[in-house]
């Protein structure tokens, strides 16, 4: 992997992290899509031999520090999601868009389930039903994210 590929990937992940903390109006805050998870899933599917559990874990730790959650809360979810996406990459790749979106929905829900479990374990007030709308929003956004990141990957020849 050339150092340029690493840089492109790092920039994409940085943008995703930035989107997670960009200020939004108060009413929209609970609906923020899981940008980092979506980006991670894309790279795991596209380059499973490069991106994997380690990347997911490091991203999770950064996200925990950035958003002030318990250290490891996002790391746990993202590691599991990265593992599952790498395992399923061959299958998800050949799916049509809508079927891909469904698979991604499952992965996003898995991440949220782990986060919810951690919140429950440390006695934080459990979030309301809007919490489960977030993976749905992410799944709806998936085709656009997929196309955008695929273009980025081809344009800059990230391998």
């Amino acid at each position: 992997m050339s150092s340029r590929s690493v840089w492109i990937m790092a920039i994409v992940f940085m943008l995703a992290l930035l989107l997670m903390i960009l200020p939004m109006p108060e009413w929209a805050r609970p609906f923020r899509p899981q940008w980092v998870t979506l980006t991670l899933i894309y790279w795991c599917i596209a380059l499973p031999h490069r991106v994997g559990v380690g990347t997911g874990f490091s991203l999770g730790i950064l996200l925990d520090v950035l958003t002030g959650t318990l250290l490891g809360q996002h790391a746990l979810g993202l590691s599991v999601v990265a593992f599952l996406s790498v395992q399923l990459h061959a299958r998800i790749r050949v799916f049509p868009f809508w079927q891909q979106a469904l698979a991604v929905l499952v992965l996003l829900v898995v991440e949220h389930l782990f986060a919810l479990w951690v919140m429950g374990a440390i006695g934080q007030t459990p979030p309301g039903l809007t919490y489960w709308l977030v993976p749905l929003i992410g799944a709806v956004l998936w085709p656009w994210i997929f196309v955008t990141l695929r273009d980025v990957r081809r344009r800059f020849k990230v391998t």
């Binding site: 520090v65 002030g68 250290l71 746990l76």
Partner: protein, 287 residues
């Protein structure tokens, strides 16, 4: 598998012990550029508004501030005589009292943290002398306390976070208790008061100063509902924070200075080390 185990270990360590604070602070410092970038649009917008303000707007604002200043100064005269009286009376009782508080004005960064935790980021950090556990106020009342410090920013846990409790006192009756965050931005709970305790709707809660984190005597919240069910040992009391937790832009970080009765000599010594932001810091005298 290793990553899962590692995350679990990290979570347990972070939740149960304070060992990871150093790691957290280092990582937070590394990710500080991201905070800056997220904050950039809002900062630029505010700078543009300032740069394009018309003369008449500025004159208007100046006038309003001038009249406000006059009014506040008039109130301060009364306050000063009251304070002198208070110190005299406390001297008679041989009681200790607070000499004063030093405050530093900080601004909230436009950064969204986890929506299910009540935290905000301010733009002053270790370089300005901010430390962990320090009290943070807005113009009206107590907002919360600092939980994480990096050199140029710090994270503040608001008093309404469910993991936050603050020792308070009912101003009218002097009753002491603890106010616990509810997780909602406009509500605090007072779960430890018996059904027959002397609390009414509309009572002001002020910090009691017990626990040592918050300086005493600052307003915290106003009681909005008292529910005394006869079959419960404790009354269900809710209060609304007096600070504008979701609206304030500027906040005050407080160093409280306490001393024994011979205060003239100790005032200077008890003051914390001045820093480069000393120009922004003022000394407020409170009883």
């Amino acid at each position: 598998m290793l990553a899962v185990a590692l995350s679990l270990v990290l979570m347990v360590l972070d939740h149960r012990f304070a060992h990871l604070q150093q790691l957290r602070n280092t990582l937070a410092f590394l990710t500080y550029p991201l905070h800056l970038m997220a904050d950039l649009p809002v900062t630029t917008g505010r700078w543009l508004t300032k740069a394009t303000a018309t003369r008449s707007q500025l004159v208007d604002e100046n006038q309003t501030l001038r009249s406000l200043n006059l009014k506040l100064n008039a109130e301060l005269q009364k306050f000063e005589s009251l304070q002198a009286e208070n110190i005299r009376l406390r001297n008679l009782l041989d009681a200790s009292y607070k000499v004063g508080d030093r405050v530093l004005i900080a601004e909230l960064s436009a950064v969204d943290l986890d929506p299910y935790k009540q935290q905000v980021v301010i733009n002053k950090g270790g370089a300005s002398g901010v430390y962990e556990g320090q009290a943070v106020l807005d113009a009206e009342a107590v907002m919360g306390q600092v939980i994480q410090v990096t050199p140029f920013s710090s994270t503040v846990l608001l008093i309404t976070d469910p993991s936050h409790s603050i020792p308070v006192q009912v101003l009218r009756s002097g009753l002491r208790t603890i106010a616990v965050g509810s997780g909602r931005i406009n509500e605090l709970n007072l779960p430890y008061l018996p059904t027959n305790s002397d609390v009414q709707e509309g009572d002001l809660l002020v910090t009691s100063g017990l626990g040592g984190k918050f300086p005493s005597g600052y307003p915290v919240a106003r009681v909005t509902q008292v529910n005394r069910a006869p079959d419960n040992a404790f009354a269900q009391i809710t209060a609304e924070p007096a600070a504008h937790l979701d609206r304030s832009r500027e906040v005050l970080v407080v160093w409280s200075v306490t001393s024994a009765s011979s205060f003239e000599n100790e005032t200077q010594e008890a003051m914390p080390e001045p820093d480069e932001d000393a120009a922004e810091a003022t000394t407020e005298e409170t009883q």
